[in-house]
Point group: C4
Chain length 275, copies 4
């Protein structure tokens, strides 16, 4: 951003408000945007409830138009105020912004299209814009580091879960068979996942004694191995936490390390620590 003594142009001012959150206006804009996004999501949801849509159709329609026009103005301002508009337009969030604004206009061109479920869902893409705003949340940093560090382990874990579910699902398919709801191997694998993850819908349930025995084994297995992802993340987070509190500086006199971050004297020999 231009911080010289020259007065910023209106484009620069708008850029400052829309793309940055340092100034008071920028923060205000982010808050208004957040409210508009949430209002828009609630609208789309309410619209999908048939009985609600029938009764308050006009209200929903007008509100949707107001929000669509607001987002349209924001989209145009974003394109206009940036130096390289195409970089924004073809960025992930640029495409999201465009796709979530267009459906209401399309409902004019294609008559009856406002019934289309797909168009409704497009508008819900605005949810992703909340994630963009989420970068301001500091508390998620520590979490992100721990998750990134344990990503590979969790992938391996999920991989084994899927293989176990394929094996167990096939066994259940052979034992229970189509007459008890296990009509195909994929459906049995689906049931194994439902059971192992302790979700337990109950739409399919084993009926034979042997099937119930194996189901019991799957459930106890699932109850036990839930400990694994938890253990992975827990130990990774404990590690991240530990390294955040102490530094790696060694005392110049007694060579002890792991001093507290704010320490200026060695806790062991009392020498002054190098800053």
């Amino acid at each position: 951003m231009n911080k010289t003594d020259k007065k910023p142009t209106w484009k620069q001012r708008i850029h400052e408000i829309i793309y940055e959150a340092d100034t008071k206006e920028g923060k205000l804009f982010d808050v208004i945007l957040l409210i508009a996004i949430i209002a828009s999501i609630v609208l789309v949801m309410l619209e999908s409830i048939e009985s609600f849509d029938k009764e308050y159709h006009n209200f929903l329609n007008i509100s949707e138009w107001v929000i669509t026009i607001l987002f349209s103005i924001e989209y145009i301002l974003r394109v206009v105020s940036i130096k390289k508009p195409f970089k924004y337009i073809f960025s992930f969030y640029g495409i999201i912004d465009f796709l979530s604004t267009i459906p209401k206009y399309l409902s004019f061109i294609i008559i009856g299209s406002h019934h289309f479920v797909a168009l409704r869902a497009l508008r819900l893409l605005r949810v992703f814009r909340i994630l963009k705003l989420a970068r301001y949340i500091g508390a998620s940093n520590n979490l992100k580091i721990a998750l990134k560090a344990s990503r590979a382990k969790i992938a391996v874990f999920i991989f084994f879960i899927v293989i176990i579910c394929i094996i167990l699902g096939t066994i259940m398919y052979m034992i229970e068979g189509a007459e008890n709801g296990f009509t195909s191997i994929p459906r049995s694998v689906y049931w194994a996942i439902v059971t192992l993850t302790t979700v337990g819908f109950g739409d399919i349930a084993p009926q034979t004694p042997l099937g119930q025995l194996i189901a019991s084994v799957i459930m106890i297995l699932g109850y036990g191995i839930i400990a694994i992802p938890t253990g992975i993340v827990s130990s990774e987070m404990a590690r991240t936490n530990n390294t955040l509190d102490t530094n790696t500086q060694a005392c110049p006199n007694c060579l002890k390390d792991k001093h507290k971050d704010k320490a200026t004297f060695c806790y062991n020999c009392g020498s002054i620590l190098n800053p």
Copy 2:
């Protein structure tokens, strides 16, 4: 409380018994109060079972009157024995005490009002009074510190859960549609929450193969990310425990505390710590 050699007035004595738990009478009062509250909660619950209410209506009615009169006496004594009665009356627990005592009297004024569900629920507010007594439990302190420290992270976590459920719920709404029970987006989001949290009621369940595939992904996701809140609280509790390795000794020179247990010099100013 007045601890001089002057004999305490009866107001002071009652204040001592009701508001404090240092004396033998104070502790006895707390125990009786706890039993009365639990008895009262059980009564309200039993009353709500229609068949039980029909058979034992008189017993329930009389018991409720006994308890109501006891709580009324307690309420009056609380108001009378305190120096600033209005401070108590308009405090959180003062209002709770009043609201949970009044319903039985209202059943005289408004004929038939003892049927009202709302009045019944008001009496259940006494549950909160148990929480007031809970302050005596020392074991919850460590827990409270850990929870307070991880509050922000858990909020961020719940926020992401809700967003994920909105996205997944919408996808399921488009795939399964109204004919399979996913009649609206909010209902689909509700289903996504039921599935992701591994509750799995089974009142709504995916019927199409693609829906079951995505449901499997949601379930494995939910099974995996349950590790995150657990990881947060675990590492935070481990940290709280670790600070038990630091002592509460203050440096005689700079008054800094939280020294390591084995430290002999202050980490801040280098003075020798008293052993």
Copy 3:
């Protein structure tokens, strides 16, 4: 046990075999006992399956007699071989042994009593005898220490869970009402427990939008606070583990502590550690 050169009497020999597990015969006895107990439990279970009982009634009856006679002999030997028989007879395991042996004999005295469910259950008390054998498992010690240390915290946690479920159950009772399955407050509290603990039977499920919204809150709450008992036990176990590896011995030269258990020289200054 008598370890003098005098030859042990047959009572001493039997005592050695039954009550101790040091000798080869003692261990063999424990293994045979374990097999007999498991066989007995399986028998009682199979007997309770009506269709199985009809077909194999004779086999089950004879097997049960064989096992009952075996346990009777064991019971008599236990009483005879011990010095203070009444101490055994009125001990917890003595009563269990008696109660689990008697039902089959009672079926003679009381005609038709072998149908009684209660007598069948009495025989299942033998399960507790497995727990007696479990004292040999060393792996459970560390676990037991951690559980004992976190007992108070877990009790507080369960207490809060119950209170939260009473409050949430009452709210759901008022919102959903009897027409949606929430017929009474205890039933609603039961549903709240089913939901919060992520069990989710689905026999009762909210039907109104507001009820589903609150159910969503309960589910996310339950999904989040499952972290608390886990955090408690994890941090407690980590603590137990840590203190098992290092000792509290301090180096006589540099005063550093937390040496490895098997260390004979200080890892910091190289001085010999006192044994």
Copy 4:
């Protein structure tokens, strides 16, 4: 493998490609094998869906033949290229390879045998071959160590879970009885496992107030003790992570390893460690 200047024979070359993953061709072979296995699993699954099998029977049949022939060639090459063929043939993976390839050929000999569910399941044994490829995944090592270390504790835990479920299941069988779905003790124990592990199918659910009370206790119990396996694995993983703080340097004097990272003297013999 022969690394002399003599040119390797074609047998050695094939051995290198099939059994090893060091060369470019070896890695390529593993990737193709993985794709073929996954394709094969998907085929078997799709075949089990009746409606899908009817429509695309020819496509599935031909694809299965192509894959079977590919695996046959691979099997022959494996036997031919190894020095001791019988060691491979009677190894675990050798038998798996054979059993998963044979079913398609058997469908010629035994007419109509391609309907047999068992033959279909045999082909799914190829899933185990993925596990063979999994040895390349480094991320699972740390996990494996932690799991191996906590194996005994988890076994004890599962053992107690099963005993608790037998006791609770019997109690529920006595309370609810056959008229509420608890038709036999094994079925009640199955229900107790479903409930304790928080799966909650809902195919069997308590109907009496007392049954619901005990169910509530089971659920809270299950919700609480899920913390135990988690605590075991978490603390074990933290421990494994901690040993990463020790280095692999061996003492030049006594050859002991696992010194602390900051150690300058051997904890065993007091010699100076090489930096």
